[in-house]
C-alpha cells in the first residue's frame, strides 16, 4: 500500500512535548551524563539556618526535647527589590491592602478576646505581602482560592472585612450564613473564588479544573491558589500540580514556606533545599521570592499570570517568610526558638514596605501615611460594627440547601458555549474487547 500523507495536527489538549521545565542548562547539554537545572531566586538575602530537635537536660535531671535553631540570624535586613511592573499608585494600593489585612486581624483578635468569635482565629501575621501582592497580580476574570492565612487576598479580590469577621462570629449574614467559618467561603459568579476546605492540597486540582473548564470555553485564565510547606506534603498536592502540568493549565501556585506547620518545622516536612525545586520534577517553572517583599511577590505573580494567559501552563512560586503567630489564637507558638521570631520580626512586610514607600521612594509623606493608616482603621471599625450587629442564624436555617433543586441555579458555561467538532461521526455500536468477562 502506498504511503498516504496523513493530515495531522497536535491536540490542543495535554499531550505536550516534555520541556523539562525549560530550565535545563543548555551549556550542560554537551555533557549528556549530567544535566543541571536552575531555579531563579529573586531574593536579596538568603537566610541560612536550620531547626533541629535537641535533648536538653533540666536541673532535676529530666530530659526535654526542644527545637533549636542553628545558623546566622544576625544578617542585616535587605532592601525592597524595585518592582519591574508596579508604579507608585499600585504600590500604595498594595500597601493599603496589607494594612487592611493586618488591622482586620487585630480587630478579630480583639473580637475573640471579647468572646464574640466562635472557635479560633487564624492569622496571616508576617504573610500580608504574600497574600495581598499575589492576589493583586490577578486580572478580574481570573480565579483564586485562599488558604486559611490568606485573608488579605479576599480583601484584594473584593470581599469586605465584615464578610470574614461575620464568618468568624458565625453570623446569619456571613457569606455562608453561619454554615462555615474563617475564610471558608466562595463566589463563582462575581469574584471567582473557590471556597477552601480544611484538608490541605485539595484546592490545587480544583483550581486546575477551573482552568480546564474555562479553556474548553475558549479562555486561558490564571487560577491562583496557595499551599504551605506543611500542606505540600499531601499526596493531592502532587496530583494537582502534575495534572496542571500535563494539561498545561494556568495554575499559579504560591508555596508559602512559612517554616512552621502547626508545631512542626519545615525540616520535618521535606528534605530538598527549597520547595521551588519541586517544579523541576513537575517540568514547570519554579521561582523563589522573599515573601515579605511585596514587590517580589507581585512581580512573580504577574509573570506567572501572564504565562497562564498566554496558555503556557503552570508556575510554582515559593515565597519564603515565617508565620509570626501560632497555628491559631490558642497556640502561643512556644516551640518556636525566639531567635527566629527576632530575625523575622525585623523583616515585617508592612514595616519594610512602609519604609520603602515613605523613606526610600518618598512616594508617601509621613502625613499621607498617617492619613492612610487612619482611613484603614476607620474602615475596619465600620466593618466591625456591621459584623457585630449581624444576628446569629435561626436554628432551623441549618436545614435545606444540601442539593441544588429546580430553579436554584441556572447552570451554563460561564465564558460561552464550548466549540464542538464539526467532523461529526454518527453513533456506532462497538464490539469492544472485554475486560474481566
Amino acid at each position: 500500500m502506498a504511503n498516504k500523507k496523513i493530515k495531522s495536527k497536535p491536540s490542543s489538549n495535554g499531550n505536550h512535548p516534555r520541556n523539562g521545565s525549560a530550565r535545563a542548562n543548555s551549556k550542560a547539554s554537551s555533557n549528556r551524563n549530567r544535566r543541571t537545572y536552575s531555579i531563579p531566586d529573586y531574593r536579596l538575602e538568603h537566610p541560612d539556618f536550620t531547626v533541629r530537635q535537641r535533648v536538653e537536660k533540666s536541673r532535676d535531671g529530666g530530659e526535654h526535647v526542644r527545637y533549636e535553631v542553628e545558623g546566622d540570624l544576625d544578617t542585616p535586613v535587605p532592601p525592597i527589590r524595585d518592582s519591574k511592573y508596579l508604579d507608585k499608585k499600585q504600590c500604595i494600593e498594595i500597601y493599603r491592602w496589607m494594612l487592611l489585612n493586618r488591622k482586620m486581624e487585630v480587630a478579630l483578635e480583639n473580637l475573640y478576646k471579647q468572646g464574640k468569635v466562635v472557635g479560633g482565629v487564624y492569622f496571616g501575621l508576617g504573610q500580608e505581602a504574600c497574600s495581598c501582592a499575589s492576589a493583586y497580580g490577578l486580572d478580574e476574570d481570573d480565579w483564586f482560592a485562599p488558604m486559611i492565612r490568606n485573608q488579605g487576598s479576599l480583601l484584594v479580590r473584593g470581599f469586605r472585612a465584615s464578610d470574614t469577621m461575620m464568618q468568624y462570629m458565625a453570623k446569619a449574614d456571613s457569606p455562608t450564613k453561619g454554615r462555615d467559618g474563617t475564610s471558608h467561603f466562595g463566589d463563582i459568579e462575581k469574584r471567582n473564588m473557590v471556597s477552601p476546605i480544611s484538608m490541605l492540597g485539595d484546592l490545587i486540582p480544583v483550581l486546575s479544573g477551573v482552568a480546564l473548564g474555562a479553556r474548553l470555553q475558549g479562555r486561558n485564565l490564571a487560577v491562583m491558589t496557595y499551599i504551605g510547606d506543611g500542606g505540600q506534603s499531601t499526596g493531592v498536592t502532587y496530583e494537582g500540580i502534575n495534572f496542571a502540568a500535563v494539561q498545561n493549565l494556568g495554575l499559579v501556585l504560591f508555596v508559602e514556606s512559612n517554616l512552621w506547620a502547626y508545631s512542626t518545622p519545615s525540616e520535618m516536612q521535606y528534605r530538598c533545599k527549597d520547595l521551588a525545586e519541586r517544579a523541576i520534577g513537575y517540568g514547570i517553572p519554579g521561582v523563589i521570592v522573599d515573601g515579605t517583599d511585596a514587590c517580589q511577590v507581585y512581580d512573580a505573580a504577574r509573570e506567572a499570570v501572564d504565562r497562564a494567559h498566554r496558555g503556557e501552563g503552570p508556575t510554582l512560586i515559593e515565597a519564603k517568610m515565617m508565620r509570626m503567630k501560632g497555628h491559631a489564637i490558642h497556640d502561643a507558638a512556644s516551640y518556636v526558638p525566639k531567635a527566629m521570631f527576632d530575625f523575622w520580626k525585623k523583616r515585617d512586610p508592612i514595616a519594610r514596605f512602609e519604609n520603602y514607600l515613605v523613606k526610600e521612594k518618598k512616594w508617601l509623606t509621613a502625613k499621607e501615611n498617617q492619613a492612610l493608616i487612619a482611613e484603614v482603621e476607620r474602615i475596619i471599625e465600620e466593618e466591625r460594627e456591621i459584623a457585630v450587629n449581624s444576628p446569629m442564624p435561626k436554628p432551623e436555617s441549618a436545614e435545606g440547601g444540601v442539593f441544588c433543586e429546580d430553579g436554584c441555579h441556572e447552570i451554563k458555561p460561564k465564558y460561552g458555549m464550548p466549540k464542538v467538532r464539526k467532523s461529526a461521526g454518527a453513533y456506532q455500536q462497538t464490539e469492544a474487547a472485554v475486560h474481566l468477562q
Binding site: G14, F243, V402
Partner: protein, 323 residues
C-alpha cells in the same frame, strides 16, 4: 434497538455529549483506548481529545478537576476505571464536592461513574460495591441501575442533574443483559424505584445485579406457589421511601438483598424506613441477604460464598413465607 447494559451507558453519554457541548469526559485510559471496559470507545475520534481527556493515574486530581470545571458551568463525566478506586478520591468527594452547595451555595453538576460489583472474580480491589460510603454522605446522589433501559435513562438524568451524581455500573451486567431501548431521547428520574416484578406474597427490595438474582429466584419460587414482588431501587440515595412503604403494605413480608457487606449496609437503612413508614403492615421479621462482613475474596468458590446467590433468596423466601 437491542442494547447491552454497557452499550446503553455508552449511548447515553454519547447522546448527551452530542446534545450539550458543556458535557465532557475525563478519566484513565478513556481516550484512544476507549476505557478499560470500552464505555467510551470511539468517543475521542468523534468528540476530540479536548472533550475526551486521558488523565494521569490520580483519582483526587480527576475528581478535583471535574469539580473545578463544573464551577465554570461545565458538566464533566469522570470515569473511575473500577469503582474500588474511588476511595483514592474520598476526601475530594466527601469534603469538597458533597458539601459545596450546602456550605457556600455553589452547584457541582458532575458525574462520577465506573464499574462496580462482584461475580467476575476481580478480587478484593476490583469487585467491591462501595456505594454505602456515599449514601452516608449528604449532598451526593447515588445511582445503581439494573437494566439497559434504566442505565441509559439514568446516566442521561445524572448528566443533566445540577448535583454531584455517583453512578455505579455493575460490571457483571455490562455484556450479559440486553434489551430493547428506545432510540428517541428519554430520561429515567433519579430517586424513583420501579417494580421489576409484581407479586403478592413477599417483597424483595434490591438493586443492580441482585435484581436479576431475585428474578431468577422468583421463577423457582413460582413452582412452590410463592409469588415474589421485586422492587428495583435504581437510586440508593435518595431512597424512594414511598415505593418501599407501598410494597410492604401490599405483601407484608420483606427481604432486602444487596451485594455489599451486611453490617452498616443499605438493608439496615431500609429496615429503619419500613419501621417508620409501615411497621404495622409487617407480618414477619425483615430479612437481610447480603455479602459477608469481610473483604470480597478472589478465588471463585470463596467469592461465590461471600456473595448472595439465587439459592439464598429461595431459601430465605420459603422460610419467611412459612413464618
Amino acid at each position: 434497538m437491542q442494547l447491552t447494559y454497557l452499550e446503553a451507558i455508552r449511548q447515553g453519554i454519547w447522546e448527551e455529549m452530542d446534545r450539550d457541548p458543556s458535557v465532557f469526559c475525563l478519566g484513565e485510559d478513556i481516550g484512544i483506548y476507549g476505557g478499560a471496559f470500552k464505555v467510551t470507545d470511539g468517543f475521542i475520534d468523534r468528540f476530540g481529545p479536548e472533550r475526551v481527556i486521558d488523565t494521569p493515574i490520580a483519582e483526587s486530581a480527576i475528581v478535583g478537576a471535574a469539580f473545578g470545571a463544573s464551577l465554570t458551568g461545565m458538566r464533566p463525566v469522570a470515569e473511575f476505571q473500577f469503582m474500588d478506586f474511588i476511595g483514592c478520591a474520598f476526601n475530594q468527594i466527601s469534603n469538597m464536592v458533597a458539601k459545596t452547595h450546602y456550605l457556600w451555595g455553589a452547584p457541582a453538576p458532575l458525574v462520577l461513574r465506573g464499574p462496580s460489583g462482584g461475580y467476575v472474580h476481580g478480587g478484593p480491589f476490583h469487585s467491591q460495591n462501595p456505594e454505602m460510603w456515599f449514601v452516608h454522605n449528604p449532598g451526593l446522589k447515588v445511582i445503581c441501575p439494573a437494566t439497559p433501559y434504566d442505565a441509559k435513562g439514568l446516566i442521561k438524568a445524572a448528566i443533566r442533574d445540577n448535583n454531584p451524581c455517583i453512578f455505579f455500573e455493575h460490571k457483571y451486567l455490562y455484556r450479559r443483559i440486553k434489551e430493547e431501548v428506545p432510540t428517541q431521547d428519554y430520561v429515567v428520574p433519579i430517586g424513583k424505584a420501579r417494580v421489576a416484578r409484581e407479586g403478592r406474597d413477599l417483597s424483595i427490595i434490591t438493586y443492580a445485579a441482585m435484581v436479576h438474582t431475585a428474578l431468577e429466584a422468583a421463577e423457582v419460587l413460582k413452582n412452590d406457589g410463592i409469588d415474589l414482588e421485586i422492587i428495583d431501587l435504581r437510586t440508593v440515595s435518595p431512597l424512594d421511601r414511598e415505593a418501599i412503604a407501598e410494597t410492604v403494605k401490599k405483601t407484608n413480608k420483606v427481604i432486602i438483598l444487596h451485594e455489599h457487606s451486611r453490617t452498616g449496609g443499605l438493608a439496615g437503612e431500609i429496615a429503619a424506613i419500613i419501621n417508620e413508614e409501615a411497621f404495622d403492615d409487617l407480618d414477619g421479621p425483615i430479612v437481610r441477604i447480603a455479602g459477608l462482613d469481610s473483604a470480597i475474596p478472589f478465588s471463585p468458590p470463596q467469592e461465590l460464598h461471600y456473595l448472595p446467590k439465587m439459592e439464598d433468596v429461595v431459601r430465605e423466601a420459603r422460610r419467611l413465607k412459612a413464618y
